[in-house]
């Protein structure tokens, strides 16, 4: 029997073969698509940043940041050009980096007026600090001194966050789920988190950032992706609270103005080919889900989220520029370049 027919006939809940995100061009009835809800709605440029893959290939497009010059930096785990630098229109400016096979997390920090980058490499099992041009400044190797790891391989850092005083927090999102707290000089000051379902523990601590929206009281926001939660911790590692986002397998939180943006790599029951973008307001409520269903709160609880339109294929990170436009990097999407969303 034909396999597809067989599965269709036998399945309890199937939906055919996973399709790509875009389909044949239909010019009749042309209308620009607008995705998102409430205050955050967007038109889509699918071709932003597309390059000749023979010269500038990508594998997974993992993360993106905007530097002080307004340029958009993309981190990919293709070692021909780990960092691809664009202007906001998607024009290629420069590329660098051939030493980051597991390039995953990209965090930009301004130190003494200079942009520096922190690259979490989950293949090298360490975090590398570089100049904006790619010159290596410092390496945060696997934290043997923490006593939490028997081997280097069990430490798989995914993201870095930098505190106002220069302290560095590293999330071991694909390893043992600990958060490492270093001084700017690389001295290990504290370890918290770890694997588990309790409030202060993580199942896939994939992303971390400084929430500086309350300027007098900065805190850490850390993703517990498999738990569909964003967890807030003090800078000293005490668990404070959680934001529940059922059905949203969120990647790192990105603070922009009063809002939190999160690429959501899977959604619903976590099926292949799903995902959308989550946008939370200053009250940490989901106000817009481009590519996802309309967010509904019942008695203060968010109803489970899911994908409604196949725009994205596993979004992995977002970068928001000063025009409120959003750049979306995607994982395992068929080596596609980022998508740009124009706010309307």
């Amino acid at each position: 029997m034909d396999r597809r027919k067989f599965v269709r006939n036998t399945s309890i809940a199937s939906a055919g073969i996973v399709s790509g995100m875009a389909h044949g061009n239909v010019l009749t009835g042309y209308k620009d698509v607008i995705i998102g809800h409430n205050s955050h709605q967007y038109k889509i440029d699918l071709k932003w940043g597309a390059l000749n893959s023979n010269f500038h290939p990508v594998n997974d497009c993992h993360e993106m940041v905007q530097d002080s010059q307004g340029r958009i930096l993309l981190l990919t785990n293709h070692t021909k050009n780990n960092v691809i630098v664009y202007d906001k229109s998607g024009k290629l400016l420069e590329v660098w980096g051939t030493d980051y096979p597991g390039a995953h997390g990209l965090t930009l920090h301004v130190e003494n007026g200079e942009d520096v980058l922190y690259i979490a490499d989950n293949n090298r099992h360490e975090v590398i600090k570089t100049t904006i041009k790619g010159q290596v400044l410092q390496v945060f190797p696997y934290p043997k001194e923490s006593g939490k790891y028997k081997t280097k391989e069990s430490y798989v850092p995914t993201e870095t966050a930098i505190a106002p005083n220069g302290d560095v927090y590293i999330a071991d999102g694909y390893g043992e789920q600990y958060i490492m707290h270093y001084s700017s000089k690389g001295e290990l000051l504290n370890v918290f988190g770890g694997r588990g379902e309790e409030d202060h523990l993580f199942n896939n601590a994939h992303g971390i950032c400084l929430d500086t929206r309350d300027g007098a009281n900065p805190t850490l926001l850390i993703t517990a992706r498999q738990q569909n939660k964003l967890k807030r911790f003090s800078l000293s590692g005490e668990y404070l609270s959680s934001i529940d986002l059922p059905g949203a397998y969120i990647c790192r939180p990105v603070i922009h103005g009063k809002d939190i943006y999160l690429a959501t790599i899977w959604s619903g029951d976590g099926s292949e080919g799903t995902g959308f973008i989550s946008i939370l307001n200053e009250k940490n409520e989901l106000v817009s889900a481009p590519g996802g269903c309309t967010p509904v709160y019942e008695e203060g609880v968010l109803s489970p989220m899911y994908q409604t339109l196949k725009v994205f294929h596993h979004p992995h990170d977002v970068c928001v520029d000063e025009d409120e436009n959003v750049y979306v990097a995607q994982w395992n999407s068929g080596k596609t370049y980022p998508i740009k969303l124009y706010r309307v």
């Binding site: 073969i17 799903t274 409604t308």
Partner: protein, 270 residues
């Protein structure tokens, strides 16, 4: 002055059109995008009297339609408005439509009414389930509690690797059987694949039924598959089920060559 005017006008149009070209952005059209499938909420895939089936898709302008007769869901199919109460074993197909987007794929669901309660049968497994996926033990295979595609939720799923798993069911009394249904998880993203074949042996160890499952050729949507094995209708005191497992992940998958898992949550008897 008048002779120069057309020239200046042309220059203005040229400059204007060049500027427009520089800032022109190719926004994607709505007709390019396909709707996702509706979310199904089912209180019990296995039920004694009734089950409630709910289809959800919160998107302005979208409508859900469905069929109950196995036919394709078209724009003429029944409009879903309220949760459905199911009283008999049924198959449903759902699909989402929206005037601006490509219709969704169909989502299919099959609800089973419990015909024979064999939850008291003694279950033996060889080999035992993988230590990380033992579920609630061998008896979970006849407890009439179904797992979902979220296999980590609950203890319904038993995971196996290797060549074959043999499940023997010893009933309290002779039981009339015409069909066995093996419920298995198909989740390629988690490296979980369906078995390749199932053979059923009766009391006398003679083979009484079998089914072969075609190998997948591409990534399929995650689902729970009900694998029917018809057997000659008769009374059986015990049966043994040989479930052949896929030994290596196919070459089109990122895990090619490595051993996949097979997950089973229930064996039903009709």
């Amino acid at each position: 002055m008048s002779a120069k005017f057309p020239f200046i006008l042309c220059c203005c149009i040229l400059v204007s059109s060049c500027n427009q070209k520089e800032v022109k952005i190719g926004y994607a059209a709505s007709k390019l995008f396909e709707l996702a499938t509706p979310q199904l909420k089912i209180d019990s895939l296995l039920f004694n009297k009734t089950a409630k089936l709910e289809a959800v898709f919160i998107m302005e302008g979208a409508e859900i339609r469905y069929t109950k007769d196995g036919s394709e869901v078209s724009t003429d199919a029944m409009l879903y408005e309220n949760p459905l109460v199911v009283t008999d074993a049924s198959e449903f197909r759902f699909r989402v439509f929206h005037p601006e987007y490509i219709k969704s794929k169909e989502v299919y669901t099959r609800l089973l009414k419990v015909k024979e309660d064999v939850s008291t049968a003694k279950v033996r497994l060889a080999p035992q389930a993988d230590k990380n996926y033992k579920g609630d033990g061998p008896q979970a295979l006849v407890d009439l509690k179904k797992g979902t595609t979220q296999f980590r939720a609950g203890n319904h799923w038993l995971g196996f690797q290797g060549k074959q798993v043999r499940v023997s069911l010893e009933f309290e009394k002779e039981t009339a059987i015409s069909k066995l249904i093996v419920s298995a998880l198909n989740d390629h993203g988690s490296w979980i694949f369906l078995p390749t074949a199932i053979r059923v042996f009766g009391d006398g160890k003679a083979e009484i039924g079998s089914v072969s499952i075609p190998l997948p050729t591409e990534v399929e949507v995650k689902d729970v598959a009900l694998l029917d094995v018809p057997v000659p209708t008769g009374l059986y005191k015990s049966i043994e089920i040989h479930i052949d497992l896929m030994e290596a992940i196919p070459e089109w998958h990122q895990g090619q060559g490595t051993a996949p898992f097979t997950f089973i949550d229930e064996i039903l008897v009709e």
